[in-house]
């Protein structure tokens, strides 16, 4: 099937999913509904809109969906439906208006930049030809969008990072990245929610927690949320960390007027 891209409109003014996507086989319990190949807010909006439609009225045999940058992975039960039947049902769904919307709310996350909290900050400055202060100002001066959650529970891919900070991933990933590490790679930034191996460049640390298995939903962010990073000094970082540990700190979140 032709990849129709994000900006075409189906017949009769409707935007049927089938006219905007191609279906890719992922075994016999899943398939991808792919809306494009690029990371762009337009394509990502189609993905999340499709996920929301399917959550509202799940077709027979649908198990769960996983929105990613440019495609929706649809998990199904082959004993209750088939890829063919489910794809036919999904292709008919009308996405309606799917323009990029302003994030409904924006989180403000305190970050201690550089030093032990951000061991790659100096190297990022050197590689980009900026001062460390300029790197921090660029990183903290941008409102990011939650494109996708994944890789780790509570890890959110936040974009777009300013083009001047665009650097490849580390050639040799770290075996252990501390939780709370604020990291950048290419045009994305994100926070490692738990200790894990990782290849992104670490420029700071936030004491905020992003994942709680006992909460519903288990993650702080929702798709499409806005995120800003706010530089704080070490003393403030430590004060917030202690408050988070005591369960007495709720991260700032402002609704978009």
């Amino acid at each position: 099937m032709e990849n129709a891209g994000a900006n075409k409109t189906g017949e009769g003014g409707k935007r049927a999913i089938g006219t905007l996507c191609r279906f890719l086989p992922v075994g016999d319990t899943a398939f991808a509904v792919e809306f494009g190949n690029a990371i762009s807010p337009d394509i990502n909006a189609l993905v999340h809109r499709a996920a929301a439609l399917l959550a509202t009225a799940p077709p027979e045999g649908l198990v769960e969906t996983v929105p990613t940058f440019r495609s929706l992975l649809v998990h199904y039960d082959p004993c209750r439906t088939s890829a063919q039947a489910l794809q036919a049902a999904i292709a008919e769904l009308d996405l309606g208006e799917t323009g990029v919307v302003t994030p409904p709310r924006t989180w403000r996350l305190p970050v201690l930049y550089g030093g032990d909290a951000g061991p790659d900050l100096d190297e990022v400055a050197r590689a980009t030809g900026l001062s460390t202060a300029e790197v921090v100002a660029l990183h903290a001066g941008t409102t990011y969008r939650v494109y996708v959650q994944g890789f780790l529970p509570g890890f959110a891919y936040l974009g777009d990072l300013p083009a001047r900070l665009d650097l490849p991933r580390l050639t040799t990933p770290r075996v252990r990245v501390p939780p709370g590490s604020v990291a950048i790679a290419q045009r994305m930034t994100g926070v490692y929610p738990i200790e894990s191996p990782g290849g992104w460049r670490l420029i700071g640390n936030t004491p905020i927690r992003f994942f709680d298995p006992a909460s519903a939903p288990p993650t702080l962010f929702a798709p499409g949320d806005g995120v800003r990073f706010v530089p704080v000094e070490a003393i403030e970082h430590e004060r917030i960390r202690a408050a988070v540990t005591r369960g007495e700190y709720a991260p700032e979140c402002e609704a978009t007027p």
Binding site: P25, S71, P78, G150, F151, S196
Partner: protein
């Protein structure tokens, strides 16, 4: 409360059920057992619903004491010697049958045969708390099961009270645990990222399971696969069984604990009917891949479900009389008696 008190945990024993469904959108892996057929049959052998949580062990089993009450257990998925010791006597049992374990008895499960993993179901099921709808242990995320980790000596595994008055069941003809050397796959979602030669190599060459094999996935050794451009894609969703290929060109078969999304091209996906066989693989095993269509894969899964239903319908009460109790024979010196009977002929 009835519980299993763990004496020795074994190499990696964890609480698992059918997995954590519905939270992959938040980056939460499915987890759950590697061998879903073993879980289904083990649960059926002790009268549990298919959703009950059990212990998954790898390579070798744990030892434990039944505390707070008698328990009924069944091992499925592999062969192993199961020693039950009580009041100074030890009896050996095989897998694929329910075993009555009196309160205070100790149970020792030995090395697994025919598979890298096995399931021990306990009547009533394991009652660790539900986390996001599942009791499965997420070893990487460190939640679910017992404190989000593999079992350790001293752990108490809580068991739900259960009616043990019915007869112990056995499976008369267990499924062959011999691993079929071919795993069926559906090509895609990024088969086109590979050269035609790369796709042919993948389907025609043997691959060996490397030592880097765990619940998350198995790195395979064999001929490297060529890319049209590169291994990198814009990250997209991963299904259990996805075979992703990083820049080295060597495939990685992703299993129960796989990440929800990934940025490497995926050449193919192991079909769900063959995932239990994939989960049973040990380092050193040689495998091949054969391509089937989505419709054929769906049909294979439906046939597997029918086969499991047929096996569960075939469960019968254990025929104690028909079973040769070797330990009892040795104790009664009947073995040598048989030999002398032959000598008299």
């Amino acid at each position: 409360m009835t519980a299993l008190r763990i004496l020795q945990p074994g190499p990696q024993t964890s609480v698992q059920d059918r997995g954590r469904i519905g939270f992959q959108a938040f980056g939460v892996p499915v987890c759950g057992v590697l061998d879903a057929v073993a879980l289904r049959l083990a649960n059926a052998l002790v009268g549990n619903p298919a959703t009950a949580a059990a212990l998954e062990m790898r390579l070798s089993g744990p030892s434990f004491i039944a505390e707070g009450g008698a328990v009924r257990i069944a091992l499925a998925g592999a062969t192993a010697r199961i020693d039950v010791s009580h009041d100074g006597e030890t009896r050996a049992f095989p897998g694929w049958r329910a075993i009555e374990v009196p309160e205070g008895a100790s149970v020792r499960i030995g090395a697994l045969g025919g598979s890298g993993c096995a399931i021990l179901a306990i009547a009533g099921g394991i009652m660790t708390p539900l986390v996001m709808g599942s009791r499965s242990t997420d070893l990487k995320g460190r939640f679910g099961g017992i404190e989000g980790r593999a079992l350790a000596a001293g752990d108490e595994v809580p068991i739900d009270a259960s009616d043990l008055s019915g007869p112990c069941l056995e499976l008369p003809r267990p499924p062959a645990s011999v691993f079929s050397a071919t795993l069926r796959v559906v090509m895609g979602p990024q088969a086109e990222a590979f050269t035609e030669a790369g796709r042919e190599t993948f389907l025609s060459s043997p691959y060996r399971v490397s030592r880097e094999a765990d619940r998350m996935g198995m790195r395979l050794e064999g001929p490297a696969l060529g890319f049209v451009k590169s291994a990198d894609i814009v990250s997209d969703g991963i299904a259990t069984g996805s075979i992703q290929v990083p820049g080295s060109g060597l495939p990685i078969m992703l299993l129960a604990d796989h990440q929800t999304i990934g940025g490497y091209a995926k050449i193919a996906t192991v079909i769900s009917a063959d995932l239990p066989a994939a989960g049973r693989l040990l380092p050193g095993a040689e495998i091949r891949f054969a391509a089937v269509s989505v419709a054929e894969a769906e049909q294979a899964r439906r046939e597997l479900e029918s086969e499991m239903a047929r096996l569960i319908a075939s469960l019968v009460p254990v025929r104690e009389g028909a079973r040769v109790d070797m330990d009892a024979l040795w104790r009664a010196n009947l073995v040598s008696g048989v030999v002398s009977a032959l000598e008299t002929e």
